[in-house]
């Protein structure tokens, strides 16, 4: 019986020699590579495009691709949380922010600042160093994806509410603080808007400066 299982395993793995083939990727690896290329390409377009709204839309592709990568790594719950929070709310917030700051719709010539060559040099140097280190460190390491699902909703919820309850509650307090802080920050001065004396003149002075500055920018 055991020899039959071993035979089946051997024929099942086929040419992938002892356990893992370095140059014979499995299907999951190929899928991960393809989705990763799409994700990386969308990320590069996000940071290089000159159309601000398109950057936000390419960010959707990047975050969605990352959700697929989480699914391939058997972390289902993280994947759906990623779709819900990032694609669902963060990108919508960013789009609202772009429109509330009167972002130009077409190509804006000053989307990149003057230190682009320095930024490119820093990013390429960091990428080269980190890729070298990571590949050298994990050359002989494989993730065993067949040994049960690691991140299903049941497993994640159980560990979250059994071992991580205190950070979870602290995080809810932090979210509440962030909510209150965002409301306080984005409210105009005072409840009464611009009707009160001194703060009203200050507010209108600030608002009067704003449109001229915006026109001057365009």
């Amino acid at each position: 019986m055991s020899s039959a299982v071993q035979l089946a395993a051997a024929t099942g793995h086929g040419l992938a020699a002892p356990g893992h083939g370095f140059l014979s990727p499995t299907g999951v690896e190929i899928a991960f590579l393809l989705v990763g290329l799409a994700t990386l390409g969308a990320a590069v377009v996000t940071v290089t495009t000159r159309q601000l709204v398109h950057a936000a839309l390419w960010l959707v592709v990047t975050l969605g691709g990352l959700a697929v990568e989480y699914l391939l790594l058997t972390a289902e719950f993280i994947a759906w949380v990623q779709v819900l929070i990032y694609v669902g709310s963060v990108v919508v917030l960013l789009l609202f922010g772009l429109m509330l700051t009167k972002a130009p719709i077409g190509r804006s010539p000053d989307a990149d600042s003057g230190n682009r060559p320095a930024a490119l040099a820093v990013a390429l140097a960091a990428a080269a160093a980190l890729v070298w280190v990571v590949v050298d460190a994990f050359r002989t390491t494989w993730i065993d994806l067949d040994k049960g699902v690691q991140g299903s909703t049941a497993v994640s919820g159980e560990s979250l509410f059994r071992h991580w309850v205190l950070p979870f509650e602290a995080l809810s307090v932090l979210l509440l603080a962030a909510l209150v802080g965002a409301i306080v920050l984005s409210r105009r001065n005072g409840d009464t808007g611009g009707t009160s004396g001194t703060t009203g003149t200050g507010g209108t002075g600030g608002d009067k400066g704003a449109p001229t500055r915006g026109k001057e920018k365009r």
């Binding site: 960010l59 790594l73 993280i78 990013a123 991140g151």
Partner: protein, 133 residues
Amino acid sequence: MHLAYPAVLAVLLFCTGLYGVLARRNAILVLMSVELMLNAVNLNLVAFDVWLRDTLHAGQALTLFAIAIAAAEIGIGLAIVLLVHRNRGTADVDRLRDLADPPPAGTPAADDSVTAPTDNGADEATPVRRQTA
């Protein structure tokens, strides 16, 4: 799956976000690049959690916490950017030079790009101060 695949992808995403943070001028695009860097870290956390088979699921729990903190961060960051835009009329990070060192007096070469924003900032510092008072 070879562990190098998610690790290298996370590294490349992080460096893309790093380039975006350094090279972008609009504050909201800088926030988008910060999101890219945070996502790269999340991918690393998930990959190493699946690799190590942690019994406490520390990696995935930390990923969830990082996602929640990133949501809070983007909310506060956008509120600050909107406030700056309301007070200044611009959301460009390299025009907000109130805290920058004044340019040295003997170098008129870089004046075009440096002194004009600082002068604007000095003019506009008064409504900001009045508003917070």
